[in-house]
């Protein structure tokens, strides 16, 4: 079992595990984060809900990566629906014009699991098959902005509170401007330009 877990962990792209730890396990315990089973679309909605709470902690690119990691690597997906047990009954002649019995229909899951969080965002479009639309510049911007937030904001604040405050584009900009002018904040014009571009991309 241990070998299987190890193999699964190693099989995942290294940055996906790191992202899971840094983004999801930043606020949640492992038991909570990995204790649920959802379908792939449901996972996308859960991750998107978390992203809306802390859009700078979980970027758009992270959301895709985390969903894929949860569903494909950690296999935190609902088990496939069991076929309905076959009922053995004496053969009776079936009239030709009647439809087949309801019991033989393929079961379809219409209800959401009980532990799925309420107030999820609306159904999302399917995940793009790859990140081909993202450019190197996007990745570079993500990395730069994340490093800047960690370096500048953590000088005074716990990062969790920072991510919680920067929740809308307008509020993020005014908060950044106010913080920049704190004596000794160290947030330069260049830093602000990077953070503004990043914010624009996230909201």
């Amino acid at each position: 079992m241990l070998a299987l877990v190890l193999a699964l962990t190693l099989a995942a792209p290294p940055n996906a595990r790191l992202a899971w730890e840094r983004k999801c396990l930043y606020c949640h315990s492992e038991e909570v984060a990995e204790g649920h089973r959802y379908t792939e679309p449901q996972w996308r909605r859960v991750v998107e809900k978390m992203r809306l709470k802390a859009p700078l902690l979980i970027s758009k690119a992270d959301a895709v990566l985390l969903t894929r990691y949860a569903t494909q690597t950690l296999k935190l997906v609902l088990p496939p629906a069991r076929p309905t047990p076959m009922v053995v009954a004496p053969l009776k002649p079936v009239p030709v014009d009647k439809p087949p019995a309801d019991e033989l229909k393929t079961p379809v899951m219409t209800d959401l699991p009980a532990d799925l969080p309420a107030d999820l965002p609306p159904e999302l479009p399917p995940t793009p098959p790859d990140d081909s639309l993202r450019t190197n510049a996007d990745d570079e911007l993500d990395q730069q902005a994340t490093a800047l937030i960690q370096a500048r904001c953590s000088k005074c604040h716990a990062l969790g509170r920072v991510y919680g405050r920067l929740d809308t584009y307008e509020r993020s900009l005014t908060t950044l401007e106010r913080m920049r002018l704190k004596t000794g904040s160290g947030i330069t014009d260049d830093d602000l330009a990077v953070l503004e571009r990043y914010l624009r991309a996230q909201f």
Binding site: R22, Y26, C27, R161, R165, R171, T175, L181, T183, S185
Partner: protein
């Protein structure tokens, strides 16, 4: 007067829908155990070996065009107080103005005086108030500068780019000033009315780079009703960051005039002033994002004539070594614990072991 401020806070909260209002708050509870018999007295509600608390709520209303209003109320050992209550106009990056009840930028620690913003359960000794051992007029009579450093006045501040990565931040202010009788009294200094005719002034400059900052602060004024007794404070601070390790150090000093006509001095009055020097060096190592190990060494040194009520010697000194851990349970909740070794010279006791356990909730 406090009722007016609280009213303003409530009104600001009620009208939250009219502006873009950002709210932030914190609550901290700290249990302290001091070893040894007869621990020195402390003004906290239940004494030095008991619990203390601090609660704060801040609202910032952005009304547009770079104008914002900030109100922050807090409660602690001295009851309900107004920590901040000012209007602010952000004109240009290099020139901005705020007026009202301000947190004066003196030293690096004062900017992050809220318990959610520092990693140890206690403040560094230069900023220590009733939290320190032997804090009263019979002892060291507090640290160098209060934290928060609250005063009423006007402040001009801004930032200048010196290169792509280096900038110079400045702040200059004119305020009511500190207050006292033959040494400064921080509790009276927070009163809303001035007691003399001369405003106090001060400023701070900080040079910041990619992962470093050096700063200098100064302030001075008169603190008695007759405008005859002066105080002058200065400080230097350093901030360095190496990945998950942050190093901070500060040195601060206050020269305070004494009243030569007062009676009860233990020594002959030759120079009617004393100098108090305080310092700290601190390393924060974020072992993992949720757990930070802190090592701190800080101290206070008194030079010159002790005030009449004091039983310390002219060159009394207190040193403290601290090992602390801060664990962040989640983004809103942290637990802090530390062990502190206090050693005191030229005072009635020599050493005390102190342990603290605190919880901090912030949003």
């Amino acid at each position: 007067m406090t009722r007016w401020w609280v009213g303003a806070l409530v009104l600001a909260a009620a009208s939250a829908h009219a502006f873009d209002v950002t709210a932030a708050g914190s609550a901290a509870v700290d249990y302290r155990y001091v070893s040894g018999p007869n621990p020195p007295e402390n003004p906290s509600t239940l004494g030095i070996t008991g619990l203390t608390y601090e609660v704060a709520q801040k609202l910032v209303a952005e009304v547009g065009h770079g104008v914002s209003f900030t109100v922050k109320a807090c409660a602690g050992c001295h009851g309900l107080e107004v920590d901040q209550g000012f209007g602010e106009v952000r004109v240009k990056r290099f020139f901005n103005v705020r007026a009202g009840r301000l947190n004066l930028p003196f030293g690096e620690f004062n900017l992050r005086h809220d318990p959610t913003n520092f990693t140890t359960p206690s403040k560094p000794l230069p900023y220590a108030m009733g939290d320190m051992l032997w804090y009263g007029r019979e002892g060291f009579n507090l640290g160098i500068v209060p934290a928060p450093f609250v005063d009423n006045g006007v402040e001009v501040y801004g930032s200048l780019s010196l290169s792509k990565k280096v900038q110079l931040d400045y702040s200059a202010y004119v305020v009511k000033g500190l207050v006292g009788d033959n040494d400064i009294d921080w509790a009276r200094s927070r009163n809303y009315l001035d007691i003399n005719r001369t405003p106090a002034g001060g400023g701070r400059v900080v040079l910041t780079g990619e992962d470093w900052a050096v700063g200098a602060s100064f302030t001075g004024g008169t603190y008695d009703p007759k405008d005859t007794l002066h105080y002058l404070m200065g400080g230097l601070d350093l901030y360095l960051r190496f990945g998950p390790v942050v190093f901070r150090a500060e040195g601060l000093a206050r020269r305070t005039d004494l009243d030569p006509t007062a009676t009860g001095y233990a020594y002959q009055v030759i120079d009617s002033w004393f100098l108090k020097v305080g310092w700290y060096g601190q390393v924060d190592w974020a072992i993992i994002p949720q757990l930070t190990l802190v090592l701190r060494s800080d101290g206070l040194q008194h030079f010159g004539l002790p005030i009449p009520e004091s039983s310390i010697q002219p060159n009394a000194r207190v040193l403290r070594q601290t090992v602390a851990l801060m664990g962040r349970v989640n983004e809103n909740f942290a637990i802090k614990a530390d062990y502190e070794l206090w050693t005191v010279t030229d005072a009635p006791f020599t050493a005390r072991h102190l342990a603290r356990l605190g919880v901090v909730v912030g949003y």
